[in-house]
Symmetry: D2
Subunit: 370 residues, 4 copies
């Protein structure tokens, strides 16, 4: 328990450093009998992988996943599923000069103080590369949630720096490297990123994630609320600094007469809550939004200190995403999937026998985006 | 594990319903030898209690806490500390009419679907009353963090509905029922709340919480990041819909050259990160911000359904806070304390032997608010 | 997490000292909808309570349990069930003389070294009184297991000191204070205990516990095996020094051709395994056996040291059971119930959808004792 | 959480099937800064590996371990340590005939009912091969316990079938394939095993394990007692059916005046407790004993049923140990190490600040075996 496991019943234990032999994870608690092949996982990994456009890091790795256990004759067995991704494009030479300094905005300084030792190659364990593991584990969760309950989990970029990206269509999201749900705005996004790169700077982004088809009743009251665990999952993604569920910070200036979603036999009349009330899913779309900080590694001179505590000037070069948010959508989807599958299992552990006389009301009338 | 425990090493298990015999908790994992008396806990409970001004619920309860175990001759023994608060002002009669309907914006509908049974009296377990338990447990954590490490945890209201509240002084916070750090704005807040009540409506709020004096190195990489667990803790408070650490959603439009906090031998030059990098505390102030939705119970007619799924119109009367955010500051402080003490213990479990050659740099030059 | 919680999905968190205000627990994870009254729990507590015969401690406590939460209109709600037992017969004066010495065979010395503080009154938290809480929590588990699955959990004393007690009938067990399943042997047990008391000594015992009706498939492979968690549960009872499942230590000299239980369509032909194979229940009776050491508190002069490390001679007087094993049967049953309910819930979390084509074979032909 | 993780602070998550691509584990929570190389782990693996004598399975695997993460420049980093052992000698053909039947004494039947799917090749996940992973993880724990606290963990075979093996010397244990601490008895053990094999049968064994140098104060009261977790760890080893701590089942017929270990300023006068009182280590040797059942796979015709529930006769051939106990000693040592390191970390989390005025008394006068 140094915090590398996620989930209580569908538990993902992550391992690996950016420039070590491999990254991977063990999934313990996956229900048996689901068809699962490496290709199912690879498809999600490919959505996140670097090198897909000039706006993301040029590190090129196939990120090929190998299933080491827990699958027999194409089906999950109920035993731990170990996933392995060998590292291949490890130019450690690029990083040796940062061995003795702490990069501003990075984990370097606090991790050094915490452990007294640090794998400085490419950020080691703090590298965004670790998120490939989450995407891989999330792919298993996503598949089960869809096959068992018809749940779909999808995300998109809703803002890139100062640019708000109005939602137009889910179909568009998969067609561009920004995960933008809006085709018209793409030239503006491209130009914006070119400018950021020209300025040798980086920029933040905002991602929206949703889950449709989640049954009413998942989540726990009090501490392990569905939204609380979503917040934990999202804030646990590298570079995330804010999380909203439903209307989020807009609630501060909202009236109760606006915010409280009314119910009718035909469904909820609105979804300000974002699909969670009292920590438990309402059957409406789960709506989550996250803020991602600008990449800390920028090719500008910045002040810092070295291992001896002496002042230095340093410039982080290397192959970095000028906006880490661009590749964050699949990661956020994966984390949402991991939260949901865990609560699916927890729910049926305790409540498998509940037979509620009240009919489940249909999904929100004013629900999702499409 | 229906999610009523918080923390892995300093574990708080909460119990109790609003109108049952009692609420309370068991704290397991408190280090031995700390002086602890009921008065230490009562002081924090009194900061949260209802009935302190005309802007909060008029339910009047002494909220007297009794220590049932884990303290011997005035000191903690290392054994579980059970805290008990008997309920006293339980006018169950007020609530009987809501037994057969689901209040909009409340946990009623999803909880009913989840459990098939529901203690409808005053919201039962979903009542904000449960947060008294968190404040009580947080008081123990706060005391230990202060005595052992000199850590101070404080919060204030930074926005009430549309009104932004500029920070002026910590001293002011304790002098008014709003936890406002600004005395001049008080008449405006009073008038605003009067207007909301007149409109038979409710309103949201924003709370800022900070921890000063947290040593560098607390938190875990990857999933159990300090900020991830803070997000979990905060989103787990009733009515919270958004959480920010450091600059939060402002990061979306920030440049990396602005956001990345530079280091000098004299300290960090800024604190955009909010005291956490790579999931681990930097030694700077921990800065957290939460959005609280407007109270769902308002004296207006609202549409809903009854247990049979039939449409109804209902008005929630009773003694409700028109802004639950007003009493949320002590709760947010308590939750931050619970996260920090847990990570304090986790840190020394794994890293007690680390002797780091690099000097710890002083607190942020541009750190906290005072 | 100082180890006062038991179970992962049906989690019991225990608190309280022998001579503090109260003992009790919080049960988190109980399925909703089960009828539950204080009388259900009291019945089990009464089986364990002191003062029932001259062979057990004369401390007299009604051990009245109060349900503080989690039950509404006579049914469990799915929320934490807090149970409270106030201490009443606390003659602290009896114990003050042991404040400065470490009683041989007791937790005194290692606990003092561990915590640097110790509630010495009656053993404080190390008192057998804490086991009342387990019996109370176990009563809830037992009731659910019986109502939901028809599982019966029963135990008896199979040896008292040198005296082996041949099993005769379950009916007899409840009729004598020894939990002996054999009426003829009672005079011998009485005489034996009288002799032990006369010699100012104490004696060990062996308890057998069984669960009938456990469905096939409960338990987890590898670490959290059903038998591993049973061993954990049993060895966690005060004074237990050995645990066997099935044939236990007799296996050492057994041949594989004898031990391996053969299967037929009519059922297993034997139950050497004790109802668990590969960590998972087979559908046969679960058979467990535990060894209980002699009471450490005896009215003889014994050598020890005091808080300053100086040698002392001490005699433990007070109201002690000369054989703690006599009252251990209900505790062992309770712990077995807690293990089983936890695995019942874990099983359905992961495997609720499994539809196995092979018919479940009937209970062992040569199964239980009756 | 399907039970494949062991330990709360030093957490080992195991994966892999006997005839899949690999077995391995992730260790989360290892303190940073310890020197660690694959050779350190390999040395322990080699003690357990098959093919070392004619008395154990002839499956030949190098069992080469690869460290995938968590070690940098020869030292642990505090991040997860992933260990990988590729399977090589996988003659799946040997096992195909058992795909449709349930081997008596094996996990086959209950696992099939539990999961509805089963990797039948060589027992899949239920194979003793999984224990190699425990030995590997235990090697890391052992190294840390020795380097940090000087703790030595050692085991030996104390009985093989009907043959009691009197302890003579630790030095002898490593010199023979039985882990016998007695050289003179070896010819008898050899002849006995030859006879068992000739009878086409198998036999049980008893293993003793000890830890010397464990500081006083490790373990938790009530549920997570040191001895309770030892029992959990040991009963979680394949084929173990009984666990004793200290005098174990001999306590049943012991007097309190014999059992209770007296203390003097020079140390305890005996160690009947086995180094644990009240769930916490006393500073004496930890003494544990386990019973291991005879191998279930024997080359005799045995009755069973097939997947359709029809009766069959089956003979388990293949390369099986006629006494699984022979290779169990390193596994039991590993599990004891895993329990101890977990409690070492838990102890310092809660009690790092305890300064106890009483001197720690020296190790037991009548302590260990040498």
């Amino acid at each position: 328990m140094s915090g590398s496991s996620f989930g209580k019943l569908f538990t993902v234990t992550s391992f690996g450093e950016s420039h070590g032999p491999a990254i991977g994870c063990v999934i313990d608690g996956c229900p048996p009998g689901m068809e699962l092949a490496e290709a199912d996982i690879q498809a999600e990994l490919d959505r996140r992988k670097p090198g897909t456009s000039r706006h993301v890091t040029q590190r090129r790795e196939p990120d090929s996943v190998e299933i080491l256990s827990g699958v027999f004759e194409g089906r999950t067995t109920g035993h731990p599923i170990a996933l392995l991704i060998r590292n291949q494009d490890q130019k450690s030479g690029d990083y040796s000069k940062i061995a003795n300094t702490f990069r501003p905005g990075h984990a370097d300084y606090p991790w050094w103080q915490k452990y007294g030792i640090r794998d400085y190659r490419g950020g080691g364990r703090s590298s965004a590369r670790e998120t490939a593991v989450r995407v891989a584990a999330g792919a298993v969760a996503k598949k089960w949630l869809f096959e068992r309950y018809g749940i779909r989990i999808r995300g998109f970029m809703s803002a890139l720096g100062e640019i708000e990206i109005p939602f137009q269509s889910w179909d568009e999201v998969g067609r561009n490297p920004f995960f933008s749900p809006n085709a018209e705005i793409l030239p503006r996004l491209e130009a914006y990123m070119d400018q950021i790169r020209e300025e040798r700077d980086s920029i933040g982004a905002r991602i929206d994630v949703q889950a449709c088809g989640v049954p009413v009743g998942w989540g726990e009251p009090v501490f392990d609320r569905l939204d609380a665990e979503i917040a934990y999952a999202m804030m646990g993604i590298n570079a995330v600094k804010g999380v909203e569920v439903g209307d989020g910070f807009a609630c501060v200036a909202q009236r109760g007469s606006v915010h409280g979603d009314e119910l009718t036999p035909e469904g909820f009349l609105s979804n300000h809550a974002g699909g969670v009330l009292g920590g438990v899913s309402t059957g409406q779309d789960i709506r989550v939004r996250i803020a991602i900080k600008p990449t800390s590694s920028i090719p500008q001179n910045r002040r810092s200190i070295d291992l001896a505590g002496e002042p230095v000037e340093m410039m982080t070069t290397g192959r970095h995403d000028p906006c880490v948010g661009i590749r964050a959508t699949p990661i956020a989807e994966a984390m949402l999937a991991l939260v949901l599958i865990d609560h699916a299992l927890r729910h049926r552990a305790q409540n498998a026998d509940v037979r509620c006389p009240t009919p489940v009301i249909p999904g929100s009338v004013a629900g999702g985006l499409d």
